[in-house]
Symmetry: C2
Subunit: 170 residues, 2 copies
Amino acid sequence: MSDGRSGSGFGGESLLFLTDEQLRQGIEAMFFAYQGFTADPDRILAELAYGRAHHRAMHFINRAPGTTVNNLLSILGVTKQSLNRVLRALVEDGLVDSRVGTLDKRERNLYLTDRGRELEQRLSDAQRIRMRAAYKQAGPEAVQGFKKVLEAMMDADMRRAYADLREASQ
Amino acid sequence: MSDGRSGSGFGGESLLFLTDEQLRQGIEAMFFAYQGFTADPDRILAELAYGRAHHRAMHFINRAPGTTVNNLLSILGVTKQSLNRVLRALVEDGLVDSRVGTLDKRERNLYLTDRGRELEQRLSDAQRIRMRAAYKQAGPEAVQGFKKVLEAMMDADMRRAYADLREASQ
DNA sequence: CAGTTTATGTCAGCATTGTTGACATTCCAA
DNA sequence: TTGGAATGTCAACAATGCTGACATAAACTG
């Protein structure tokens, strides 16, 4: 594992020879970049006594209005109990509307209220500004590669969720 | 902010026109990919009653042996109190060695013990395997773009830390 | 159709890891 | 040498993971 090399065999099979050092750079880049990625919304959230968990919930409710708790937690990769706490706060504060399902009354369909949409917008805007700046700085070809590697890094079910979301917005 | 367009002006200045939708895909890719990125070490850590914080500390101590608490917390972006709790556990468990600084006795120089190196290796290996697979799947050109965008996404001080680490390993 | 099982969501309590505040020790500068 | 700054530790609190217990609704089974 730690011979500092990677590749399928002695040669020929793959053109990629990745040293442990190269891989470590990628790992560290991922770590540092994620800090920047979340920094701007985090600052806004801190003012409002909310956290990242609230942001994530609002993001995906906005993305798929009417989604259920069950669906949401599979996307977020947390337990329903953990998500529940966050949703309760958002509902109490009037940012999320939770309606008993019409077809299946066990389910709750989730929607952002006007105020919820407003905050989500504010958070997304902050995050998009950084994303846009990074994309511009890196250039168009880089963006392709960026997305490719990220997608390849996802677990299978997350890759599916990701594809579903993209297709959902036409 | 939300006109679905991005660019410096009406045209000509930039060749990149990024819709909010494109940016959102990047944001979601980042979120889902980070889950995958941390999933494998997380599984190992859970067995050992450690968390991500322990992994991060061990990673950077391994990367820069003899580093101080102060330096470490600036890299990790957490408070010294938060880091301290994690370090205390690692020292007690014999994975990290904390030596009073020779030049400045207020400082503590941190080193992995043999057992610490062993666990760090195990965690890194798991993470590298996924990274390597993602790189291979995405291809060499993609890797360049990936790193470029990530670096552009970092906060300035993290970009500096990232550069320092790379240079430190020749 | 009655009774049991499964699915969905809520409430309670615990663990990890972030935070701030108070403090001891050491260094440095006036 | 004395007061302030820097470094690190200890304590207590908050956010957000987790598991377990439970209520309700739906679905299945005989």
